[in-house]
């Protein structure tokens, strides 16, 4: 029944008549568009213009619109083009299409120098906005914390414990495994290079100081930012998307108190514990390698370790942990609450949460290094 669509010119002279035949549907759209574009040029000087569609076998929105487009462009002059031979089935479709107002599409994707400068400006202003947002959240969390101190019963204990399980207890295996391996690697590299100077035993000093002061807490903080920071952002972000946070607010709950504070508390408690476990695992791994690879037996290792490190090294490391946890938590919650309605936005903010979290953790570590150096610890 259906054939390829055709558009033929049937009348000559002053009148222009076009006869459309075949299947005018979406699957023939490229052919149809070309035919219509060719036919649009035929208008010149005709007294009357007819488009005969009585032979069209099948018509859908695409076909109907193309006929309408042809009619409109042929009408440009004083003569109005007419559509003839419309069957009852399709007349309502053509009527529907005729109601469409053709508005030119504005292409907004052009790149201009001012546009680029504007973007740079917005990005710079965005940095200030980020810092302000973090300080804002810190203030809100501290205020909520103070309210909880005054009314201890308003602390969401169940929620805090739940998050503590997620962030701390469930993170133990992976944290211990990775810090153990890092300890092994540090010891192996140390022994390999120190051996040339006959200074194998100093690997214990290096391992002890490095792990307790820096690596233990920094590595754990980075892993927690990737593991728990991203989870916080995704949780809060999808709650924001589904208007759950608005719902909380309308019920008279403060989202900071209900959602953010338990998460922050859990993280601040979890990171020192994880950092301690991580440091122990790294020392154990290092000791194991020193024994099996470097021939430093455990007794000598422990003896040397006792001489090499003092409680200061341990304190320097562990004091940093809660501060880093707070930074990670605040960044994650700010990003989570900044999520807009789309899935893409959720992805962007989760990425930003991890990237910014790790960045701020390293910056904080630098600040602490300067601080401890100046107080002589």
């Amino acid at each position: 029944m259906s054939g390829d669509p055709k558009l033929e010119r049937i009348a000559k002279g002053n009148a222009l008549a076009l006869c459309a035949t075949g299947t005018w549907t979406a699957s023939f759209a490229p052919v149809l568009e070309r035919m219509v574009a060719d036919a649009e040029k035929l208008a010149g000087g005709s007294q009357s213009i007819f488009i005969d569609v009585s032979e069209v076998a099948k018509l859908d929105t695409f076909g109907a619109w193309l006929i309408e487009r042809l009619r409109r462009s042929l009408t440009q002059g004083a003569v109005e083009a007419q559509i003839a031979g419309l069957s009852a089935n399709y007349s309502s479709l053509v009527d529907e299409v005729r109601r469409v107002r053709a508005t030119p599409v504005i292409d907004s994707s052009t790149i201009t120098i001012t546009g680029m400068l504007e973007q740079i400006g917005r990005a710079v202003a965005g940095i200030a906005g980020t810092v302000a947002g973090l300080i804002d959240m810190l203030g809100a969390v501290l205020a909520a914390g103070a309210r909880v101190l005054i009314h201890p019963r308003s602390l969401r204990l169940t929620s805090t414990v739940h998050h503590l399980e997620q962030v701390c207890w469930r993170a133990v295996p992976i944290i211990v495994l990775i810090t153990f391996l890092i300890g092994c690697i540090i010891a192996q590299q140390g022994i390999f290079h120190f051996r040339r100077f006959g200074a194998d035993i100093f690997v214990v000093d290096m391992l002890g100081v490095l792990v307790l002061r820096e690596i233990g807490v920094l590595l754990v903080a980075i892993m927690v930012a990737g593991r728990s920071g991203s989870a916080y952002t995704a949780e809060l972000g999808s709650m924001k998307m589904r208007e759950e946070i608005d719902a909380l607010r309308t019920m008279g709950f403060d989202p900071i108190e209900v959602l953010v504070l338990p998460r922050m508390l859990a993280l601040v408690l979890a990171l020192p514990i994880l950092a301690f476990l991580g440091a122990m695992a790294a020392l154990y791994g290092g000791g194991l390698v020193a024994w099996l690879y470097g021939g430093v037996d455990p007794e000598a290792f422990l003896l040397r370790l006792r001489d090499a490190i003092s409680i200061d090294h341990f304190i320097v490391g562990i004091v940093k942990a809660p501060v880093m946890a707070a930074v990670i938590g605040i960044v994650a919650c700010v990003e989570g609450l900044a999520v807009q309605g789309s899935a893409e936005s959720l992805g962007q903010h989760t990425t930003a949460s991890v990237v910014k979290g790790i960045f701020f953790v390293i910056v904080m570590d630098g600040v602490f290094a300067i601080f401890f150096a100046s107080i002589g610890m």
């Binding site: 979406a26 479709l93 529907e96 508005t103 599409v105």
Partner: protein, 256 residues
């Protein structure tokens, strides 16, 4: 072609769907005729959405056969199946618009996949579809999160219609709309069915929709179709749930 006109557009035979130990659909038969608007009702949790999702192929069935456009969806190969999918459109309950694409991109998404059409024609067709579902052209560059609930349903319908399907599935299209908006939507479905020659499979709870939009009604209960027919048949039925549904307080209010 002649055969295709007489055969039902959807032919469901002996469908059984089970989630764990609960049997949701139990040997269900259903025909949807070409060109009709079938309203599908039943108590909440009876499995209306499950049946829709089973026909579309989102829920696996334990037994039975489904034919859409005369193609058995179990024994069809990938290209046959794609061909069928290209000829139906689905309006999900929550709209299911792609949240990171604008309205325009949402409507053009199926066109880009299935058709080789110039950008100009796609933009013009998008505009046509938006006009058809009663939205202004300005909406085209907004994101789904910037639309109201009613607008989301309309855009989702425009997307379901973007390839000019022969069959559309509407899952509770008027839920969450105000009565005037819902009335407009029923009107719209009717108009589109007339202009585009659509077959409409509509899951609904809305009595007004049943009265104004539907040609035929099928009722689901206990995993089976307990009744199918015109609105008059439904009112005459002695089935207890149907009596309650069509003669309850709200039904009387609708009938005036």
């Amino acid at each position: 072609m002649a055969g295709e006109i007489q055969n039902p557009i959807i032919r469901v035979r002996d469908i059984t769907v089970q989630f764990g130990a609960t049997r949701v659909l139990d040997g269900l038969d259903l025909d949807v005729k070409r060109g009709e608007i079938l309203g599908f009702v039943g108590p909440s949790g009876a499995g209306k959405s499950v049946l829709t999702r089973t026909i579309i192929g989102l829920v696996p069935k334990v037994a039975g056969s489904i034919e859409v456009f005369g193609v058995d969806l179990d024994s069809s190969n990938t290209s046959q199946r794609r061909n069928v999918e290209r000829r139906w459109g689905v309006l999900f309950q929550q709209g299911a618009l792609f949240s990171s694409l604008t309205v325009r991109q949402n409507i053009q998404f199926p066109m880009r996949e299935y058709l080789r059409v110039s950008q100009r024609l796609m933009d013009e067709i998008t505009l046509t579809k938006l006009t058809m579902v009663g939205l202004k052209p300005e909406v085209a560059d907004r994101f789904p999160s910037e639309l109201s609930g009613g607008m989301i349903k309309r855009v989702a319908l425009a997307r379901a219609l973007s390839l000019d399907p022969d069959l559309v599935f509407l899952d509770e299209p008027t839920s969450g709309l105000d009565p005037i908006g819902a009335g407009d939507f029923d009107e719209l479905v009717r108009t589109l069915q007339r202009t585009l020659g659509l077959t409409v499979f509509m899951v609904t709870h809305d009595l007004d929709s049943l009265y104004t939009a539907c040609d035929r009604i099928a009722v689901l209960g206990n995993g089976k179709i307990i009744a199918a027919g015109s609105i008059a048949d439904m009112q005459a039925s002695q089935h207890p749930w149907l009596r309650q549904y069509f003669h309850g307080k709200r039904a009387r209010a609708v009938m005036g």
